[in-house]
């Protein structure tokens, strides 16, 4: 049976909430984020700011250089969160099959829906109208027979867009896609594929599988599937967390190893507090370090599942030995935990003491 999948993406979410709540900001280039003099980063940019080339994750200093009239607003996550909850409660009126991807983005399976609409397009139109009327924000929607096409469709026309890929239009749509339109194909992978003569998504179909595997490894089969428009992944409501952690960009580069160590330990404790709240154990702890010159590395360590504070903290701090934090200045530190299991799974799961596995 053909499914009707929606991907809804709120337009410039944080920035739009700010413009909604303060009409004086309307129509002006706006960035939500940190202080440019304290090395803040753009968390979101309004469409007016995007016209100047301002993008999220860009340093605020650069954003101001690109757009001298930029209005900078410090983030107020509490307000974004309540707007997000309002949006999601509208989604859940239509179907329980809502899979959040973030605060401002979700998949909906509306093959069957509480509004009794036959067409996915009609559901998308009504959702957009409701979000505008009730919450005062705009969203872009993609309607397609599966998740990957729906997601590409929602990005096709923004802001306030609605792009529909009906089953009979899947093939012509696929024909025009570059290979990096795909989820999971970043610039590096795209470069590798292009080097092998694969520029369009449909080129993947005829590419030699071995060649494909050499280029993208285990992604090869998945790419093949997507290239023929097939994506059977269901919409999974309330996706469970796969990792948790935090990171911080410092106002000034850190050079003192003791300070760096105590920052790492502090972040590890945050992650552990999260594990305690969720009643989970983690096998893997990952340290992320961005040096003064913006090069970023991650180092991980895996051991038997635990949420023991001394153990996890010590492992996170020891990972610093595998970085150049001693010799180079550090701009950003992040610590996260992954590979969760419940307590019940762990007591039976005594592991052989392999090193570094």
């Amino acid at each position: 049976m053909v499914r009707r999948i929606l991907h809804i993406d709120m337009d410039a979410f944080y920035a739009s909430v700010e413009q909604r709540d303060d009409p004086s900001l309307g129509g002006r280039p706006l960035a939500v984020g940190g202080d440019p003099n304290r090395r803040g980063v753009v968390a979101a940019a309004s469409y007016e700011a995007r016209a100047f080339g301002v993008r999220s994750a860009m340093s605020m200093a650069k954003a101001v250089r690109l757009c001298p009239t930029l209005v900078i607003v410090p983030p107020d996550f509490a307000r974004y969160k309540s707007a997000s909850q309002a949006v999601f409660s509208i989604f859940r009126e239509v179907t329980p099959l809502v899979e959040p991807l973030s605060f401002d983005e979700a998949y909906l399976d509306v093959t069957e829906n509480a509004w009794g609409e036959v067409l996915g397009t009609a559901v998308a139109k009504r959702l957009k109208a409701r979000i505008r009327a009730d919450i005062g924000l705009t969203a872009s929607a993609g309607v397609a027979p599966n998740k990957f096409l729906a997601k590409i469709a929602s990005g096709w026309k923004k802001p306030d867009g609605l792009t529909v890929i009906s089953p009979e239009r899947v093939e012509p749509f696929l024909q025009q896609l570059p290979v990096d339109a795909l989820w999971g194909v970043g610039p590096v992978t795209a470069r590798k594929l292009r080097a092998r003569g694969i520029a369009r998504l449909v080129d993947v179909r005829s590419a030699d599988l071995q060649l494909l595997r050499d280029a993208v490894g285990s992604l090869a089969d998945w790419l093949r599937q997507l290239a023929s428009g097939v994506d059977d992944r269901p919409v999974v409501p309330n996706r469970e967390a796969k990792s948790s952690g935090s990171e911080n960009t410092y106002p000034e580069d850190l050079t003192d190893l003791e300070t760096i160590r105590s920052e790492v330990a502090e972040m590890a404790r945050h992650a552990i507090a999260w594990l305690v709240r969720r009643q989970l154990l983690a096998r893997t702890v990952t340290l992320k370090v961005r040096y003064g010159d913006f090069t970023t590395i991650t180092r991980s360590h895996t051991a038997p599942p635990t949420r023991d504070e001394a153990d996890l903290t010590a492992r996170a701090v020891r990972l610093l030995d595998k970085t150049e934090a001693r010799a180079r200045s550090v701009r950003l530190i992040g610590v996260s935990v992954h590979n969760f299991c419940g307590e019940g799974d762990a007591d039976a799961a005594e592991r052989l003491p392999f090193q570094g596995v």
Binding site: D208, D221, T302, D347, E350, L352, P353, F354, Q355, V357
Partner: protein, 370 residues
């Protein structure tokens, strides 16, 4: 393509492909077997891109050619036929399979869509004794996880040295290692060759090794291994990654040694495990002067115990294992007596067959916390 082949010859080969073709059906052509008829034989090839198999059988070929057929359906049809000659002929857009008074037409997929597999260089780097290889696979295969995110544990490590070969598998909780001697003087081996073989490869290898007695010709390609088993060629990808340093988890200083009659221990563990905790499957082994108690208890079910007489003069101790891990070992060995070597209740235990001659088998189990 047009040929006549004996039903039993065809069936024997097709059977070997049933485990090879892809089950998940994500790529339709991988559910097919490629047949190529030429001269006086028909050759077969199937693969799931991880493991591939090439084989052939005699046939009367009246027209050369190649086509692909769904391996499973084709096998079912051939299996259902009486013992007679099977006529296979390519027709427009399909293939005719007929025998006796039976007639059928099957859909094919384009031969051009079939993936190409790496070719062996034709110069095997080593000959492996069949019986020994069979033992090795049977004694390690069950310990491979298959579903682990640490993907290198989804295979077994094959280590080939001039005078020995080993296979090691672990799921992180227990480890099985078999080493057998070999006479590798006349080969062009480097000192040591290591490769991680997928679980599926070992399963298919075990199937191919069942009949026959000649040596297996082995060759290592860039990313693949080739096993020539009596003219059938198994082609396997190697798993990338570093297999964990398994030597380090095999304990050396286990000073408490107990020997069991294998049958008695097997029966005791199997019976007692019936009342073990259903999730953990924990059985406790209580060792004391001259006897061992195997016990279990489950809050929901009850408890059980069985006492075995052993020769043991050391101090009392206890250790707890997942019953399945113990039973896996006991059913993989065939000696009358097995040994258990312990250090304490939290360190790795080692089980070995006592009196095995042709191979050395070491099975390491991590105890459970009591």
């Amino acid at each position: 393509m047009e040929l006549v082949v004996r039903k039993n010859d065809l069936l024997r080969e097709l059977q070997l492909f049933q485990g090879i073709v892809e089950r998940k059906n994500t790529i339709p052509i991988l559910a097919n077997v490629l047949m190529e008829a030429k001269g006086d034989q028909v050759s077969f090839l199937a693969t799931d891109l991880e493991v591939g198999l090439r084989s052939k059988c005699a046939a009367m070929v009246s027209k050369n050619g190649a086509l692909t057929l769904p391996a499973k359906k084709f096998y079912e049809i051939i299996k259902s036929l009486p013992e007679t000659d099977v006529r296979i002929a390519e027709e427009k857009g399909g293939v005719k399979v007929a025998a006796d008074r039976f007639d059928s037409r099957m859909q094919t997929l384009p031969r051009e869509d079939f993936p190409t597999l790496p070719e062996s260089g034709g110069s095997p780097s080593a000959a492996l004794p069949r019986a020994a290889l069979k033992e090795m696979v049977a004694k390690t295969h069950f310990a491979i996880t298959g579903e682990d995110t640490r993907y290198f544990l989804n295979g077994a490590l094959f280590v080939l040295r001039p005078d020995t070969m080993s296979l090691v598998a672990t799921d992180g909780h227990r480890l099985a290692l078999v080493t057998v001697p070999r006479d590798g003087k006349a080969t062009k081996d480097a000192d040591e060759v290591r490769a991680i073989l997928p679980k599926k490869t070992l399963g298919e290898l075990a199937r191919l090794l069942q009949d026959g007695d000649e040596d297996i010709r082995y060759e290592r390609g860039e990313n693949h291994l080739f096993f020539d088993v009596g003219g059938r060629l198994l082609i396997s990808r190697m798993i990338d990654g570093q297999f964990p340093a398994y030597e380090r988890v095999i304990p050396k200083g286990n000073d408490k040694h107990v020997e069991f009659e294998r049958d008695r221990l097997t029966n005791a563990v199997r019976r007692v495990a019936l009342l073990s905790n259903e999730r953990s499957r924990a059985v406790k082994i209580l060792i004391d002067r001259g006897k061992v108690d195997v016990t279990s208890s489950s809050p929901d079910l009850g408890e059980a115990t069985e006492t075995l007489t052993v020769e043991y003069a050391g101090g009392p101790m206890q250790i707890c294992f997942n019953a399945q891990y113990v039973l896996d070992f006991l059913s993989a060995v065939s000696t009358d007596v097995v040994s258990l070597d312990l250090k304490d209740e939290v360190s790795q235990a080692v089980m070995k067959p006592v009196g095995a001659e042709a191979y050395e088998y070491t099975y390491v189990i991590m105890p459970m916390r009591v």
